[in-house]
């Protein structure tokens, strides 16, 4: 009897059992990352959130776009503080990107049989997502929360602008280190990825150039701790790598006309595009292009269901011909013919001559039996090209000008001028100096295409001259108190019943007065 007990005791001690349960009929963190296919589902979520969040910059787009008349958001454009406080803005979209990226990085070690290249691909997407989100948070909100990872639950405190930008740089550098160039990007089946939203080495480089250029400018503007000159040099360094094709092959389109066809033709990848938000047509039958700016400028003839007379009542951002003539004094500039429809003819509506935006030429229509033209307009058919090579040239020119390297700045400016067939700098029309000329060149190149004008104005300190309404009368103290950023979003510290859920956050002093 004793022997039986003794033997069974030994048997018990020599066996072991695992108490970790693996769910068989549910998806949890522990079993959703086992294979690359499952890991890819999280990477897909990161891309989805980037696609739906980055282009949504309604408040700054309304304040900053070049337009003579806008149909709605007039008070917002004048930066009426009460209108701004009550308008719809939230940073949740960025934190969705950040959370999913952190989730991927926290769990990627669970994935079995992941080769180093594939691991670099997924880690690169997550790090790029983090870098991009922190950069845009710092740009739009200033102080923001830096989360530790995807599992800690606690009321976070805000980190200062400098810390958020530093976090953005850290993640962007990690992405830069691991990602391959765009021609080597493949999905998990080995097929080449052709959309320019998926991050590659070039995308990370462009992000770094943008972050450093922004960081240098706000260090000077807000008297932050840091070395602005060093930041400009870093921006120039990364811009140079892109221009010299060291991080991927990018070329300027041959002419503005070719650029426009590429902008509207997403079949062949735009050789100039570095980072675009992909127009995901297969998602549903109601999906619209992520480029809201382009959509707001569109009118007849791209809108086949409208006539010229409908422009004043249905096109959100309207441009007078006189404004465009002032912007492009040089009539040899081929951009006039390419970006605007039939530039030579008059387009008169109610006594005013309008410039018809023609940068994006294709639209998607759904058949509609109730409309007079038989179809209803859904969206412009285009990706949202967020950064293209021309942007990097002009960014490098801007940073070189701030560093005092005028010769290099002029050289870059003239690359863009020559591509557009315009007169080189300095010409008879360049009367306001190099810094302003570079800024105006950005306006000319990106008109009707993206929301970058607000950020360009902030970097160059043209708030009082180029913006309107309250911007013109902001004092220096107002700017230091956060007038140029969006207020702290309400849903960051209150739940939908009004209870305070995070009492560590502070509203910016400028907006506190209007709360």
């Amino acid at each position: 009897m004793k022997r039986i007990i003794y033997l069974s005791l030994c048997a018990c001690l020599l066996t072991s059992c695992s108490l970790d349960l693996q769910p068989e009929n549910g998806l949890t963190y522990s079993n959703s990352f086992n294979t690359e296919k499952e890991l890819n589902a999280t990477t897909t979520s990161i891309q989805y959130y980037i696609n739906t969040t980055v282009g949504n910059n309604y408040d700054f787009a309304t304040a900053g776009v070049l337009a003579d008349n806008i149909l709605d958001g007039k008070q917002l454009r004048e930066w009426n503080p009460r209108t701004v406080i009550t308008s719809e803005y939230s940073w949740k979209g960025f934190y969705d990107i950040i959370f999913e990226s952190n989730l991927l990085l926290d769990n990627i070690d669970r994935t079995k049989d992941l080769s180093p290249e594939r691991r670099n691909y997924h880690v690169g997407q997550a790090e790029f997502g983090l870098g991009l989100s922190y950069f845009l948070l710092a740009q739009r909100y200033g102080d923001a929360i830096i989360t530790e990872n995807s599992s800690v639950i606690k009321p976070y405190q805000q980190s200062s602008q400098e810390q958020v930008l530093a976090a953005a740089i850290e993640h962007a550098k990690k992405a830069y280190d691991v990602l391959p160039t765009w021609d080597k990007l493949t999905d998990l089946n080995g097929n080449a990825i052709t959309n320019r939203q998926t991050a590659s080495k070039g995308t990370a480089t462009a992000l770094l150039a943008q972050i450093y250029a922004w960081k240098g400018s706000v260090t000077e503007l807000y008297h932050l701790k840091g070395n602005a000159q060093e930041d400009y040099q870093n921006a120039v360094k990364y811009a140079t790598e892109l221009i010299d094709n060291k991080v991927g092959s990018y070329q300027l389109c041959a002419s503005p006309e070719v650029l426009c066809t590429y902008l509207s033709n997403e079949k062949s990848p735009n050789p100039e595009a570095i980072f675009s938000l992909y127009f995901d047509k297969t998602r549903s039958e109601n999906v619209v292009s992520p480029n809201e700016i382009a959509q707001n400028y569109v009118s007849w003839p791209v809108r086949e269901d409208q006539t010229l007379a409908d422009l004043t009542s249905s096109t959100t951002y309207q441009l007078y011909k006189s404004t465009v003539e002032t912007l492009f004094p040089d009539t040899t500039d081929k951009r006039l013919q390419a970006f605007f429809y039939q530039w030579g003819t008059q387009h008169d509506v109610d006594g005013t001559d309008y410039a018809i935006m023609y940068k994006f030429r294709k639209a998607i229509f759904d058949p509609d039996q109730y409309s007079p033209s038989g179809k209803s307009y859904r969206t412009v058919d285009a990706d949202y090209v967020y950064w293209r090579l021309a942007d990097i040239y002009l960014l490098r020119a801007e940073c070189n000008q701030k560093l005092g390297n005028e010769a290099q700045a002029i050289a870059d400016l003239n690359v863009i001028r020559n591509r557009a067939g315009a007169l080189s700098y300095p010409s008879t029309y360049d009367t306001e100096g190099l810094k302003k000329a570079i800024f105006l060149e950005r306006e000319k190149e990106f008109i009707g295409e993206n929301d970058a004008r607000y950020a360009d104005i902030i970097r160059n300190g043209y708030v009082k001259e180029e913006l309107q309404g309250k911007f013109k009368v902001l004092t220096n103290q107002d700017i230091q108190n956060g007038a140029l950023f969006l207020p702290l979003p309400k849903d960051a510290w209150q739940d939908k019943d009004g209870h305070v859920i995070n009492n560590q956050l502070r509203q910016k002093p400028y907006w506190q007065a209007y709360n």
């Binding site: 499952e38 589902a41 739940d495 956050l505």
Partner: protein
């Protein structure tokens, strides 16, 4: 992780065995009991502490996966503490038995969705062991063997229960949208009826934003209160009657409920009867009233139009308001959602009646059948109640409101034969 060991302790004192109790000849057995127990139960949703993922979002043809709610590694089992005090008495040579119990159960660490401290977590809520509910009540059971002979016996029994519950804790110490701390978990929420307005002076007037006096209105300014309409108390004095003016009118639990049973046996014939009863339950009959809410929907009208009286200037004492308020936007007028519609009902139902006959073994000798019995049983045979509706037993126990969407319990008669081979 469950920290704590489920344990229980019980004490009993059979005081009838004590020497000083032997004098009481009628007390056959008596016992006093007390017990305390702590137990834990797993919650129903699986895998919550591991962080559940769900499919969502499509990008470029691939499906994405995101967490359904924030994973909370600190989740533990739900705990219950129960105290029980009881008395067992058996009298008159074990013929009359009583059992009385009082219990108090405190369930804590109940799962609840609470808000996250911010919107930087993708999900908007997380599961937490945050709420607590207490339950207490009395249970009483009595049984009497009326006849106890060899060939026939007859015993009757009665049981009775009373239960009360209360919400004790929430995740942030504040009331929830539909449950209030310190009150029963489920209650009747309805409007307060202040009678039909007879004179224009009785209509409450409120100044609106531009200072003009407007009458009390229902949901929107297009529906003002006029003479002939039912005056509903504006609980928050904001000039509009809407969901914010619902008040707690009582618990939906009955005062007492239980059953009566009887078992009679005579030479192989048996008769079992079971009654169930409820006394003192607050309910509201919604469909009889809502029959008069004229909407464009075509449905069954569960009330007599001609047999009811509606307010007119000549008929000021009518039961219902004027017919001009028979519109679904005029809440509280014809939809029955007023506290004057609360009925305090009781009912007695013959739940089950079984007549059976066990064939004597002598009849079955010689056949291969070992045992046989035949029975006739009826369920829900009749109902005695003071409720104005069809079946008080199917009224929603959470809201106490009978909206006429539940089928009444059906009456069943079964004839059966049991054979054992």
């Amino acid at each position: 992780m469950f920290v704590g060991v489920p344990s229980s302790v019980g004490l009993g004192w059979a005081f009838s065995e004590e020497r000083f109790m032997k004098k009481l000849w009628w007390l056959s057995f008596g016992k006093l009991r007390a017990s305390w127990g702590k137990s834990g139960q797993k919650f129903q949703e699986p895998y919550l502490a591991l962080g559940v993922m769900e499919e969502s979002n499509i990008f470029n043809g691939s499906l994405g996966l995101i967490p359904q709610s924030m994973a909370n590694k600190r989740l533990t089992w739900e705990e219950s503490d129960q105290y029980d005090v009881g008395l067992d008495l058996q009298l008159l040579d074990y013929r009359l038995k009583f059992k009385l119990d009082y219990y108090y159960k405190y369930s804590s660490k109940l799962l609840m969705q609470s808000y996250l401290p911010g919107n930087v977590f993708l999900a908007t809520s997380m599961w937490d062991n945050a709420s607590a509910i207490s339950n207490e009540g009395i249970e009483f059971e009595a049984q009497y063997d009326i006849i106890r002979k060899k060939n026939w016996n007859w015993s009757v029994g009665l049981n009775l229960s009373h239960n009360k519950n209360m919400l004790r804790k929430t995740y942030n110490g504040e009331d929830l949208n539909d449950k209030v701390l310190g009150r029963p978990v489920y209650g009747i929420y309805t409007f307060k009826d202040e009678g039909i307005v007879q004179k224009e002076e009785d209509i409450p007037m409120y100044p609106n934003a531009s200072g003009k006096l407007t009458p009390l209105y229902f949901q929107s300014v297009n529906n003002p209160l006029r003479v002939g309409g039912r005056k509903i108390k504006d609980q928050n004095f904001d000039g509009v009657i809407d969901d914010k003016d619902l008040y707690y009118a009582g618990s939906t639990l009955p005062a007492v409920y239980g059953g009566l049973n009887s078992h009679l046996e005579w030479k192989g014939l048996s008769l079992d009867v079971l009654f169930s009863y409820t006394i003192g339950r607050k309910v509201m009959n919604m469909y009889k009233n809502s029959a008069f809410t004229f909407t464009k929907d075509f449905g069954v009208i569960m009330n007599y139009f001609h047999a009811n009286d509606f307010w007119t200037p000549d008929n000021r004492g009518a039961k219902y308001p004027s017919l001009e308020f028979a519109d679904k936007d005029y809440i509280g007028q014809f939809d029955g959602n007023v506290d004057s519609n609360i009925e305090n009902i009781s009912f007695l139902r013959l739940k089950q009646l079984v007549i059976g006959y066990q064939f004597p073994k002598t009849w079955l000798k010689g056949t291969f059948i070992k045992d046989a019995n035949i029975y006739l049983s009826g369920e829900n045979l009749f109902l005695i109640t003071n409720y104005s509706g069809v079946d008080p037993e199917v009224i929603n126990p959470y809201t106490g409101k009978d909206d006429g969407t539940q089928y009444p319990l059906n009456r069943k008669v079964t004839l059966g034969l049991n054979l054992k081979f």
